[in-house]
Symmetry: D2
Subunit: 146 residues, 4 copies
């Protein structure tokens, strides 16, 4: 009856992104996603700067945190961030294009650990993010579990 | 000639906040600031939620990061964040009022370490942030150094 | 039949400390413990220095990690560390007496977050540690559950 | 007059390791080192366990911290750890052989960021460490600066 052909990871991120008003405000584009990984892109705008007139730390963090959320939930099991850290390595300017690539360092039954690299359009690392998620066990699409 | 009576910390945060377009978008209010400490407040709006329809992790992070920036720069010496971590402890809902209180755990010549507690309107801790800044040595108001 | 009068927290830490060969090598002394908190003390010895002839970062970390373990398990439910961070704030010398005080920032059903302050004998903060634990739900003394 | 043929990185680590009593107690072996990277190995012994009879968190941390220290100082400029974090991913048993591989994620003028992977003898990741160092500018061998 269903003609659903999208992979599970894509369907999870479709649902998450649809409700994710802040990722939409950031104008985050999805470049790829799969179980445990995800790559996102966005452009830094005028309304995203801090008191030094460079991108606010919250911008790189939010981009990386979205990448973490999509990568870790893309297994089909709901996962929430419990502890994250970010190093801000280089200033980010208005007009810069940021790409965040999340990869899975470890996946356990209850927790997962991810690394997210945030690069600018010159391929320079501007921020390095590490995130740990808790996996409660609830599936995104319980009706599909047989 | 100058009638300036504002404390140094206030003048630094005035200048920073004026250029801080993202803190303005967040509608951050300043409750108090001084050398090494700062308290900020904001309300969570519809455009700040993530795919779980709770506040995006980037929102609490950004509020805490602004508090870190103001508290650490309020000594009058420019300070930039080099490494930060945040634990998300409780979901934050649209309409919640968040208060971030930054305190200084350590101040060295070149680095400073800060703790920022983010509470909701019920006084519950929703996020716990730790930040390390680098102090390059440049004053905010070099013309005042004699 | 049992004459057991020790509090639960003390009994948990008694059992843990008895098997904790490394804390014994460190000559860790217990100053106090209770549900969610713990204070430990140790002296830095010659065999604990690094290539700069100050205490190896692993020493302050280990002391803080033991304090985390005891504080978080003292509720009577087994808890294991999943993510920890430490800032080394001041050099620690041979002969220094370190005191680590763990306090609970948050206790949830499955996770807990703790802060551990490591001070020297002059009351100066030498390291600041933050730890997140996972609580699997297994009690330390299952036979006591009715 | 000098017949010194060892690379700078090796000479720095030789000097550091010689005074590093705790790394010696851990029986750390050096597998390789160079500017910004380093691989170390050690075996977990009975005196290194915690109250769960698995390796104390301080052991993996200390091994990773030594790898960080050697990798970051191997450029020939003195570097001290300012903020580190470690995720403990799998239990480590007595008799396990741990290998820590430090790589450089970023090197700036004043700070550096490193990732250290700690694996067991089965090639499984047991701990993941991230470290930020401060570089004060002092060379290890000032007499060689011309």
């Amino acid at each position: 009856m269903t003609n659903e052909t999208r992979p599970l990871a894509t369907r999870v991120v479709d649902v998450m992104m649809e409700g994710d008003a802040f990722s939409q405000w950031l104008q985050i584009e999805r470049l790829e996603e799969g179980p445990g990984h995800c790559t996102l892109r966005m452009m830094v705008r005028e309304e995203m700067v801090n008191g030094f007139r460079i991108a606010h730390g919250g911008i790189s963090y939010a981009l990386a945190d979205s990448a973490l959320a999509f990568a870790s939930n893309a297994h089909g099991i709901k996962a929430v961030s419990i502890e994250t850290s970010i190093s801000h390595l280089r200033p980010v300017q208005v007009g810069d294009i940021l790409t965040a690539m999340a990869t899975e360092d470890n996946l356990g039954k209850r927790t997962g650990v991810y690394r997210v690299e945030v690069m600018n359009q010159h391929g320079r690392l501007v921020a390095l993010f590490k995130g740990t998620v808790f996996r409660g066990g609830d599936p995104w699409f319980p009706e599909e579990i047989s």
